[in-house]
Symmetry: D2
Subunit: 309 residues, 4 copies
């Protein structure tokens, strides 16, 4: 149960079977850092010119195809004072007629947010001339992009997501949540990056408040877990994740996976799983900006505890 402190020096714009940067065992913890989505580090210095550069991959000894890799997210801490964000709403989440009637948007304009980790707030510093003034909001750090090497030697851009995880931008991937991923290659090859100090559902601005972070997590291997899609759990919920477009298809992946999970992991029969889902399912929206959208299917632990009584 070692704790590894790893300082990355090399980053990837894809999630794939890249050379591992560190080998860890199941149960080990890793403390490492992530660049912001534009490749800047804790000193606001440009380290790599790529989008969503990934730290890793970490090779987890003993993880085999068919297993799941669980990642307990223990800490996500912004390691610099300023985060940035785009100032538009992405046109793909707006009515086409509204977009067509609007003047051209400035995709390059960036807001600058001051991040105060001690006070647990973010404060808008620029632009300073909007009606928001210097709005102050609660800090809520999360991991925007993480996943494991996909099968067939694929290397998938960190601009999108799939069964291997990727750029899911789910606010629920925060401290206190355990995420898991289907393992496709020996060692799983876990990568992470693209942390946000705060983000609305869907990352509809095309960014959250983008910032470099120190992240601590612990990896665990779930043998023969037979999961097809990422998922996870926290204090109140278990959840499954579907990544696809349109959102309808992401719903299909996440809901089908939950139907399987309730039977496999919680020993419900299919009839029971269906009835429970019908009256208790909840959905959260992950990324709806990228080529693949993310939908999260949840069941409350309270409902699960009521089963069979």
């Amino acid at each position: 149960m070692a704790t590894h402190h790893f300082t990355p020096s090399h980053f990837h714009p894809t999630i794939g079977s890249h050379e591992p940067v560190l080998r860890v065992a199941g149960g080990d913890s890793v403390v490492t850092s992530t660049l912001c989505a534009h490749g800047y580090d804790a000193n606001e210095t440009l380290v790599v010119q790529m989008s969503n550069p990934m730290t890793g991959p970490f090779y987890v000894e003993g993880a085999e195809p068919g297993d799941a890799l669980a990642v307990v997210i223990e800490r996500i801490e912004p390691d610099r004072e300023y985060g940035w964000a785009r100032t538009v709403v992405a046109p793909n989440v707006l009515d086409p007629d509204y977009v067509a009637a609007s003047p051209p948007a400035d995709n390059q304009a960036l807001a600058r947010w001051r991040v105060d980790s001690r006070a647990a707030t973010v404060t808008l510093e620029e632009p300073s001339d909007t009606s928001l003034g210097r709005i102050r909001l609660p800090l809520a750090p999360m991991i925007g992009c993480m996943g494991v090497a996909p099968p067939y030697g694929q290397a998938i851009s960190t601009a999108t997501s799939g069964q291997h995880g990727g750029n899911m931008d789910y606010r629920g991937f925060c401290s206190g949540t355990t995420a898991y991923f289907p393992v496709f290659v020996p060692g799983a090859l876990f990568q992470l990056g693209d942390c946000h100090a705060l983000q609305g559902d869907g990352e509809i601005g095309g960014t959250g408040i983008e910032i470099s972070c120190t992240v601590q997590f612990t990896v665990r291997i779930r043998k023969n877990a037979a999961v097809l899609w990422p998922g996870g759990e926290n204090r109140h919920y278990i959840f499954t994740v579907g990544n696809a477009r349109p959102l309808d298809q992401a719903v299909q992946h996440a809901t089908t996976e939950m139907l399987r999970r309730l039977q496999r992991e919680f020993k419900l029969d299919e009839a029971g799983a269906r009835i429970l889902l019908g009256q208790c399912v909840e959905y959260d929206v992950g990324n709806i900006f990228d080529p693949a959208y993310t939908m999260v299917c949840k069941i409350g632990r309270r409902a699960l505890k009521s089963v069979g009584h």
Copy 2:
């Protein structure tokens, strides 16, 4: 500020410019009852053979096209002991390959839930042989279908939804919420029905726990509100609603309407509205079973209160 007690005797399978059953004034309250989605009343007697029969329409004096009709939901009370629900998960929310590999589903099979309004619980009575046993869950009554007469003389089936409202099956349409609708015809012609004792997000079983109810609501006219889509507010959130397929398009309608609402009603400039949405928007999933799906775009009141400080 009268309170009208209205016992319906006639029901509609469409929302349209039907003969009003009652004329009320802005500020008036109505106490009335709704049949369950199969047309059974408080005595479990079949009253009409139609899907989602609507009570109403109620003509609201002074409501004119261009106004919004606000409906303060004050009470939704199941008025019989048993509700029913389908036992499947709708195939449109499952992976096509999963559905294709499954034995044919029984769409006609119904679960029977005992509804205890005093204890505020629902208990599964039939089928009694699933792994759920006699699972007991918290009662959470809501209005599945409501809306106002659409424009151009349309009469729209209560199986679907649109700018006029309709079968949105949003769990947030519960007691304590104010819903509003764009007014298209003089008097607005408000109709409601299809209440549920409980329902998961999306109504993915094709039903919630379907039950007849006593409903109390108060109507208010918001003059020249210029809203294009339904919306509402509760203690913690303001929200807008988009109804369309795929979900992506429902997202577009709801998000665009929120962008407009933040400017019109909360006096944000467009730059501020965009930045706020990017970091604070939340989405809830309404119906994802019907021809049109429902997506709800929310902003927390707390975030709104932080604006400009």
Copy 3:
């Protein structure tokens, strides 16, 4: 087998159970006229201020729910010299990023096309300053919107489409094609309008070349046809039509209906129908501008003739 000459004086912006304007028998022909999509007649005089005004409904004696109403399109003849068209490409068929980066489009600007029925050409007269010059293209008249009264007393806007037909804007609905529709109410109540002198696939400009026309058609009743969606046939193909969003769902409706049709009408077994579709199906795109999109599923008569040999 009468031929009725009917001059309309009243028009509808919805397809529904409106008062019939004429009662005809199966086998009868009707010669009538349609206004253009903005409500102008053969004299370019504004007759009604509505979108896609419909001529009809025609009550077909003996048509009952469960039957299909076949409409043999015999003639579509522009009855004035000029048609108009919008000059934009609808933003819903363009990349959101492209639309966002473009200056606001002018939805009101109209092109004016001279229609020469004798020469069978259309010629662009205005705007005269584009790179197209006075481009001349072949005339290809078609019916943009037609259908029968939907069930449950619905009245559905002619801006959209569904199982009853409606604004499908399929170029294949031209002279020489037989269209059919499922009958939902006694007499079927056929309505038609919105003819185009020419139109690209999808009506992606939001209009074809809009013009008033003289239309001749013959109605036939197909008893107990048990069709769920519109369809048709011409010299080379049989086809089925699905109307929904997204296009994927329109594909599902049309393909499923074709699978049923091949079995019901052409006596293929399901295995044969599936194999034939896999190697021989073709798709045409109808309207992709309206709330519901239209996809056409076709099988060539030549392939059908090869069956069983």
Copy 4:
């Protein structure tokens, strides 16, 4: 202008920056062979166990990012007597309710088609007990999957498609067509495979008639072509290709690219391009089975020739 005869010995299940198998110059022709989608060669011998194994990549000297690689398809000749095909219709192109009501489908069952290149026919041999009998259809060979290395070091599964091309399954990619692709890496790195003796639109069975082939093509470099998506031309049409889900988004990519192409390559102004598209655009459906769907946007050469006269 050399003609290279290349016999592949190594195959890839992804399109990416793999080691080139041959270096050719612009203007050179290549005669090579492709395995069938299950990895069998001309002798019906299993060569590799992967889906859609690709021949290549071919490095084209002088091709640089920003160029387009044009591939003139000169010959696609089945090199064995039998092709195979799945016998189902994929559930994603059928109504979910229809699929749910059907008995489980057999995805593994394969039809066997005899391919007679001299007679230019395909004949169904197995199953022999369907209503199709030994149906005989015209041979129409096409390339199912081809493309160039995507950017950012991605390696993309041949089960899907994107801006780099991939598994587009467009019937128009046949002899006589020139396809082109945006070049993302030096040398373009062209790969091809997955040929079909015949296929319906959409590859809705999940396969065409899968067969190994001899393919001859000539490569040409179009310097600074600035294309974003694949496209092509044949005797009657020019076309652009969009790959995405849902089909609506594939339409957006293809239509936007055509709007750009008409301006860039055919010197239309934007107003002219829009008007021309509105009245003359045609769409073809490529793959609608894979994770990404394919839509083809076409303009007839005849319409283009009418421009400006």
